[in-house]
């Protein structure tokens, strides 16, 4: 994405040439834009890897009976699909956006800790190589779901589990370093006059996300360390034989896991706030409340984890507590949705690609929110838990939620990053194919779950055939539509498309739009003046 960065405006920085020169440049770069670009490309590649796995899953489920892959391989696919999409796609993409945008949005020259930044990226390719290498080992790759519940992953886990554990350690390390960097940048690098309550909502959402990361990634590291110890060092944290408890694993995992899903969605809230405001040509409605809502959601995320475990036999009082706490999340989330609608209300709306994705976000994320609310009701959850209803729910909040926000962000800021406009027609095709196919894929899954189809099964009873077929067709359309996105991004990066000025969008405001497109290598070498 930033090859365009070096063709104009750049005289002070001569980028080295030749294979070793280029390699060295990217390997040792400490520039926030370069690192942002690396994160985004990694995420893009992993998006297709994880997506290919999803298509294997959907192809197997096209009709009942053993068809394409064995149940063993199917389980490996569901496990790796989950791990890759969470840790390899959404998180790196969000960090990539943070790297590119946060310094530009707060008027800083770069991130606060550039070398740390380089490290936190370059750990990731190793982490994912380690994870993917499990496919080539004798014995199965991790095959116990992305939640790796003990004892299936400990006493009964395949040998490759240890590689997954180390891979998660590395990813955790990378995220923690990234989080430290973001917090340090936001606290220390703001331009004079950029008070906390003047920061763009995207920056705010990332500040909160970074604290969440700092709070829970170490807990995940602890959980996998305990797993490793149980597997090899004779401890029994999660094995009842030695006095442990498999349910404890679920508690520790979800203590990480629930804030984790908010880590995936928070920056998306930030992106949507920026985009909706720009294309409505109106300031975001209720700026302060938007921030309060983000903070409230983050705090609540620490006390709702057991709602993933309602069927695991926790007692009545505990279930009631976690049900009430979970339901409460709907209040700040509701406030956010209402504020976005209020921002659009009486605006002057135009429908460029970023806005289209943001609008789809508003509709579909809200639907995912509704099914989330339904899942919070303990008695009803007894029926929903571990069915396709849950699969439908979290794909509705993750694809039209996080992924759509990432796509909106790319279309929104790509012209700024490259100095060229993307192809709007292609982007609209991409949008409509995506938004339609996503519903074809995941809407029927609500029906499947309610009618009794458990998740993570490689074969199913005949009554589920129709909806599974529809879902598979949708998934393939969705998967292949993403090629349009890839083509569009590559074209723009390579300099196709008309040149754009500093302020790409008519309704945009914020410091990044005061910089030329593409912005200079070091964003603000002189602190900008903050107005109002």
């Amino acid at each position: 994405m930033s090859t365009a960065v070096n063709d104009v405006h750049e005289h002070e920085h001569e980028h080295p040439e030749g294979f070793w020169g280029v390699l060295g440049r990217w390997l040792f770069t400490t520039n926030h834009k370069d690192i942002g670009t690396l994160y985004l490309w990694l995420s893009f590649i992993m998006f297709f890897v994880g997506g290919a796995m999803a298509l294997v899953i959907r192809a197997e489920l096209f009709q009942p009976g053993a068809r394409i892959v064995s149940p063993e391989f199917f389980n490996q696919m569901t496990t790796l699909h989950g791990l890759i999409m969470v840790f390899g796609v959404v998180m790196p993409a969000m960090v990539g956006l943070a790297n590119w945008q946060i310094p530009m949005m707060i008027g800083a020259p770069d991130m606060a800790l550039p070398r740390l930044n380089n490290w936190s990226f370059w750990i990731l390719p190793f982490a994912f190589s380690l994870l993917m290498s499990t496919f080539f080992m004798s014995g199965p790759a991790p095959d116990f779901g992305w939640t790796f519940y003990a004892p299936l992953s400990t006493t009964y886990g395949p040998k490759s589990t240890d590689f997954m554990i180390f891979s998660i350690h590395l990813m955790g390390l990378s995220s923690i370093m990234g989080a430290i960097n973001v917090i340090a940048t936001i606290f220390n690098m703001r331009a004079p006059g950029m008070t906390l309550m003047k920061m763009p909502i995207f920056v705010w959402s990332w500040l909160v996300t970074a604290f969440l990361l700092l709070g829970v990634m170490p807990v995940l590291a602890g959980a996998v360390t305990m797993m490793l110890a149980d597997r090899h060092f004779g401890t029994s944290f999660f094995n009842a034989a030695g006095g442990g408890d498999p349910i404890l694993f679920q508690h520790v995992f979800w203590f990480f896991g629930h804030p984790e899903v908010y880590i995936l969605i928070m920056p998306a809230f930030g992106v949507i706030s920026e985009v909706v405001s720009t294309f409505s040509r109106k300031k975001i409605f209720g700026y302060r409340f938007m921030i309060y809502a983000i903070v409230a959601i983050a705090l609540l995320s620490f006390i709702v984890w057991a709602h993933h475990m309602f069927t695991a036999g926790i007692p009545l009082v505990t279930e009631l507590f976690f049900m009430y706490a979970t339901m409460l999340v709907a209040v700040p989330t509701g406030v956010k949705v209402f504020n976005w609608v209020a921002t659009i209300f009486k605006g002057s709306i135009s429908f460029e690609a970023p806005m289209l994705f943001a609008i789809a976000f508003l509709f579909l994320f809200t639907m995912g929110g509704f099914s989330g609310l339904m899942l919070s009701i303990v008695p009803a959850d007894y029926q929903y838990q571990d069915t396709y209803f849950v699969v439908a729910h979290f794909h509705y909040v993750l694809i039209p939620g996080s992924i759509f926000a990432i796509m909106a962000a790319i279309y929104y800021w790509l012209p700024k990053w490259t100095g060229h406009m993307y192809n709007e027609t292609m982007a609209k095709w991409h949008f409509w194919l995506t938004v339609i196919s996503i519903n074809i894929t995941f809407f029927p899954m609500h029906f499947l779950g309610l009618a009794g189809m458990p998740r993570r099964i490689p074969d199913y009873a005949l009554q589920f055939t129709d909806f599974n077929r529809i879902a598979t067709i949708g998934a393939f359309i969705f998967g292949f539509s993403q090629l349009l996105f890839l083509i569009n991004v590559v074209r723009t990066v390579r300099g196709h498309g008309p040149r754009v000025g500093a302020k790409v969008w008519e309704g945009a405001h914020g410091l990044e739009w005061t910089l030329p497109s593409p912005p200079p290598y070091h964003s603000f070498t002189v602190p900008p003046e903050i107005k109002n």
Binding site: I180, I183, P218, V219, A240, G242
Partner: protein, 186 residues
Amino acid sequence: MIKRFFSKKHLPVTLLVIALAMFGFGFALVPLYTLVCKTTGINGKTAGPSILGEPAEIDTSRWVTIQFLATNNANLDWKFYPETITLKLHPGENKLIYYYAENLSGQGMTVQAIPSVTPGLAAKHIKKTECFCFTQQTFKAGEKRHMPILFHVDNSLPKNINTFTLSYTLFNADKYKKSNRTLGRP
């Protein structure tokens, strides 16, 4: 003071310390969870030995039914079953029952029986003075034993619980061998 930790210079270190603390917290969840479970009995685990003190007051107006269960973990090749399947007693009354265990696996083995009670809230009201589940049990190949549980149910058992189930699951504990204390008679 606090301001110093968040000063430009110290902030990254402070954040690193927070991360390390959270890593520690992950491990702290283990004793924390055990403590919460012990005091509330939420995971249905019974407590360790309680001292047989003054004979508790026996509430003859009330009957409680206890069912005894036995499960072998991981297809353990043992005979393991309660010699009493159901028992009616008054709260406060001391009772002694036996589980039968026989090692059919053809080799010496150390096992650990893990107790579990449902409804979970009854767990902390079972007061066991002696139980084969307190320690690991080592059996020679083919050895058989009648293993005792001496216990009473305390008076504070919630009124709505008339029946509860005490289950023991037998695990191979060779990996976690601790003591060689044996209990029970052949």
